[in-house]
């Protein structure tokens, strides 16, 4: 083995080692846990201020939406525990009581989950809309309302 070849192998090994180290550190810091409210609360103080994905249902009657400040507050429940949620920005158009949502954000020490993103959970398997949730109905009120 020539000295040149040795250097080449050492260099390659060094690049791979640095990369492996970065990979480990990067994963360690950027893994986001997917939790339910119950699991989040069970974490105690370890649950504060780390990025998590929180999944659950919007508790009926808890939604407060201010369309001027664009602030949304509601309670997320998994049936046994519940977490207060605050989010800035518009909820999806069809956001409503009882629907399944996935939030991304951090649980603050003030016991409010500050969500940076809000996704409505829906599957690719279709089901017929129930009475009252048909988009057409909503749309018809719009046409009537705006008169156009």
């Amino acid at each position: 083995m020539t000295p040149k070849r040795k250097w080449a192998i050492a260099g390659t090994a060094a690049i791979i080692a640095v990369f492996g180290w970065m990979l480990y550190g990067g994963l360690d810091k950027n893994v986001v846990f997917f939790l339910t409210p119950k699991e989040l609360l069970a974490k105690g103080t370890k649950g504060y201020d780390v990025p998590v994905r929180l999944g659950g249902q919007v508790r009926p009657g808890s939604v407060k939406w201010n369309d001027q400040t664009l602030e949304l507050r509601f309670a997320l429940t998994d049936g046994s525990s519940e977490v207060a949620v605050h989010s800035k920005g518009t909820p999806p158009q069809m956001f409503r009581d009882g629907m399944g949502v996935v939030l991304e954000g951090r649980y603050g020490r003030d016991s409010v989950f500050d969500a940076t993103s809000l996704m409505v959970k829906h599957s690719n398997e279709y089901r017929a809309p129930k009475a009252g949730e048909k988009p057409q109905e909503m749309y018809r009120t719009l046409i009537k309302g705006s008169g156009s």
Partner: protein
């Protein structure tokens, strides 16, 4: 009826494939023309049969034949004809059928164009293609059968997923992706064929494989860009890339194929990296199957994933089979896979190609680890996790920066050994490009260090690549007295592969600059507006004119009309909408974009009051986004240039085989070199 024809054709195709594989083994061993003809006939027959099956499905979709299970699943009488036809690939079974058809098409074209080639390479490769076809044919008569009979026959269906019938790019992105993805089977088949026929040591198979990889790579590049564009135009978040598992699935084979496009040249010219190249080809193919597994088994949740049952196990078994068979073949051919060439000097194009391969592979592994980690974590520790975008961005940015720089250094360096003087002449002047672009970026307000690094090094590499083209033109101009325009055309025609390479590089730089600028200098805001009120972003004022609703055949639409107000006048209007499809409770956002070379204003309708008294819009300003689409187009043009047939010049071939050295080599290499990159 359609169901019977389609299913029948698929059943016969399984039999034809099995017979073809048997004939292929005989053809490979005995090498007699009768057996070879039998394999080729099986390939053509399979293409005809899968075409019949696919045609039957299209007819069933168009005629709303709801007795066919797939039509009952994705069809609807309200869907316009155009979206009805393309719903062929809007759900699992149809997409596997389409996959099988593209594969059978590739196999037929590969065999037809190489049918007169001597030796056992093509018969064995055809056998490998048939073997992969067998896997998809089994899926199509088993777990992904699109032709089940439905009884009682429904009168109407739900229509395709609303997201997939909302934009014209749905007709472009998936076929391109399949052409790219499935096309990676061809290099794999050639590698298998070369190993089975003992021709793995020849230069012939690597040249053939290089061309076919370029074709698939061109399709895959176009597909990835089209997918980014679709995501930008439809999903309403103003982004184009989210490191979604499915995006990663398309990106990983692209990375390894890109590495192969470079390392294959090393083998062609210097006889190096033989073992590595075989592994890259096999790896690229396995990554396409892995990607299909990830996206079609429902194992990873994603916007693209179709949910299903048992199909995942079939894919896992197939991946295992491919890996074991390939490793066995590689081990059996190890004596033929040694390097015959060696590195002359560290200051050479060879070194840059080696580094390029190293970093592209590292990049691929990063994406692979990030994509698979959630699966591993759930399997081992039972926790549900996701790997966030910050991981991918943080890991990939340094790699991207290095790669952008290497893309400039590589073309500037000669094969073999560069003298100190040559290094200085080649590597110093492009720094002017760095200075220029850096100054422009700083003046435009770019402050993010990573983005600045990407832009600065792209400046270097743009100059380095453009300079190679200019040097070549100059040489022709001086030697033959050709006008500059003629010289450019002759240069491009004379060595298409190399010229196409420069072009593709320049396209990648445009994409890199577009991504750097749009991700680091984006500004956005949300506002709730009453008609007549306005919102201002990046110096542009948008005024809400009206909120409206409209009934279309297959959907209901709610939209807002906003006006761009410049100097008190209305300069343009923009109409973001929400489309409501009967089958889904969720509206599909349809953002509107006002595009210019320097940047896009992107408006998405977030929410509206049902009485029309106000709407909430998200307004985003993103600089240089169109550069990404334009850069993608240039990359594709580069790939097309490289694939077009080369004019034949035999006389200079012998001379060109020698690695070019010194100043003479650099000029001659560009001027007359036939074999080079």
């Amino acid at each position: 009826m359609n169901g019977l024809i389609g299913h029948g054709a698929l059943l016969i195709s399984v039999a034809v494939i099995v017979l073809g594989i048997g004939a292929g083994v005989m053809a490979g061993r005995l090498r007699t023309q009768d057996w070879i003809n039998a394999v080729y006939s099986a390939v053509y027959t399979n293409f005809a049969l899968v075409t019949i099956a696919t045609g039957a499905m299209v007819v069933a979709l168009v005629t709303h034949d709801f007795s066919v299970s797939y039509v009952a699943q994705v069809g609807s009488r309200a869907t316009p004809l155009f979206y009805t036809i393309i719903s062929l690939w809007s759900a699992l079974e149809g997409s596997i059928l389409f996959w099988g058809w593209v594969l059978s098409l590739y196999a037929a074209v590969v065999v037809w164009t190489n049918r007169r080639r001597a030796g056992a390479l093509v018969p064995w490769s055809a056998t490998a293609l048939l073997s992969v076809s067998l896997f998809f044919a089994i899926l199509l008569i088993g777990p992904a059968n699109p032709f089940h009979l439905v009884y009682p026959v429904p009168t109407d269906g739900p229509g395709p997923n609303p997201l997939l019938q909302n934009h014209i790019l749905m007709a472009v992105h998936p076929p391109l992706l399949y052409l790219g993805y499935v096309g990676m089977t061809v290099p794999f088949a050639f590698a298998v064929g070369a190993m089975l026929s003992g021709e793995i040591g020849s230069n012939d198979w690597i040249k053939l494989t290089h061309r076919w990889t370029l074709l698939s790579w061109g399709f895959l590049s176009a597909a990835i860009i089209a997918g980014m564009w679709w995501s930008y135009e439809v999903l309403g978040w103003g982004g184009y890339w989210a490191w979604d598992p499915v995006e990663n699935a398309s990106f990983m084979p692209w990375l390894t194929a890109t590495a192969f496009l470079h390392s294959a040249i090393m083998q062609e010219r210097r006889g190096m990296l033989r073992l590595w190249n075989v592994n890259l080809v096999v790896g690229t193919f396995v990554l396409t199957i892995l990607g299909t597994f990830l996206t079609r088994s429902g194992i990873i949740s994603s916007v693209h994933a179709f949910t299903t049952g048992t199909i995942g196990y079939f894919f896992l078994a197939f991946i295992a089979l491919v890996l074991v068979a390939s490793l066995g073949l590689v081990a059996g051919n190890s004596d033929r896979l040694g390097s015959v060439g060696h590195l002359d000097s560290a200051a050479s194009r060879e070194t840059v190609f080696l580094l390029n391969n190293l970093f592209l592979t590292v990049f691929m592994f990063t994406v692979l680890v990030g994509t698979l980690f959630p699966l591993v974590a759930e399997a081992i520790r039972g926790v549900k996790v996701s790997v966030g975008e910050p991981f991918f961005n943080r890991m990939s940015l340094p790699v991207v920066i290095v790669l952008v720089f290497l893309m400039g250094v590589g073309p500037a360096l000669p094969w073999g050994r560069a003298s100190r003087d040559e290094l200085r002449r080649k590597l110093v002047p492009p720094a002017a490009g760095t200075a220029l672009l850096l100054a422009i970026a700083l003046a435009a307000g770019m402050r993010n260090a990573y983005a600045l690094a990407v832009v600065a090094l792209a400046g270097y590499s743009i100059v380095a690549n453009a300079r190679e083209i200019v040097i070549g033109m100059q040489a022709r101009h001086e030697a033959h007295g050709e006008a500059w325009g003629v010289a450019l055309l002759k240069l491009a025609g004379g060595n298409r592969r190399r010229f196409g390479g420069y072009l593709a590089h320049i396209g990648v730089f445009a994409v890199a600059i577009g991504i750097a600028a749009s991700s680091s200098m984006r500004s956005d805001r949300e506002a709730t507006l009453k008609p007549g009120e306005s919102v201002t972003i990046a110096g542009r004022t948008l005024r809400l004119k009206s909120v409206w609703g409209r009934e279309e055949t297959q959907r209901s639409v709610v939209g807002a009309t906003l006006e761009f107000v410049e100097n008190g006048r209305v300069a343009a209007i923009i109409e973001p909408r929400m489309n409501f499809y009967p089958a889904s409770q969720q509206p599909v956002p349809t953002p509107a974009v006002r595009s210019s070379l320097l940047g896009d204003v992107y408006v998405n309708l977030q929410a509206f009051r049902p009485d029309g008294s106000n709407v909430t819009v998200k307004v985003i300003y993103e600089p240089l986004v169109p550069w990404i689409w334009a850069g993608g187009l240039i990359v594709v043009l580069g790939a097309i240039t490289s694939i077009l047939p080369q004019r034949v010049r035999v006389a200079r071939e012998a001379d060109a085989r020698q690695p070019a050295t010194g100043a003479r080599g650099a000029l001659a290499g560009l001027h007359a070199n036939v074999e080079a990159t």
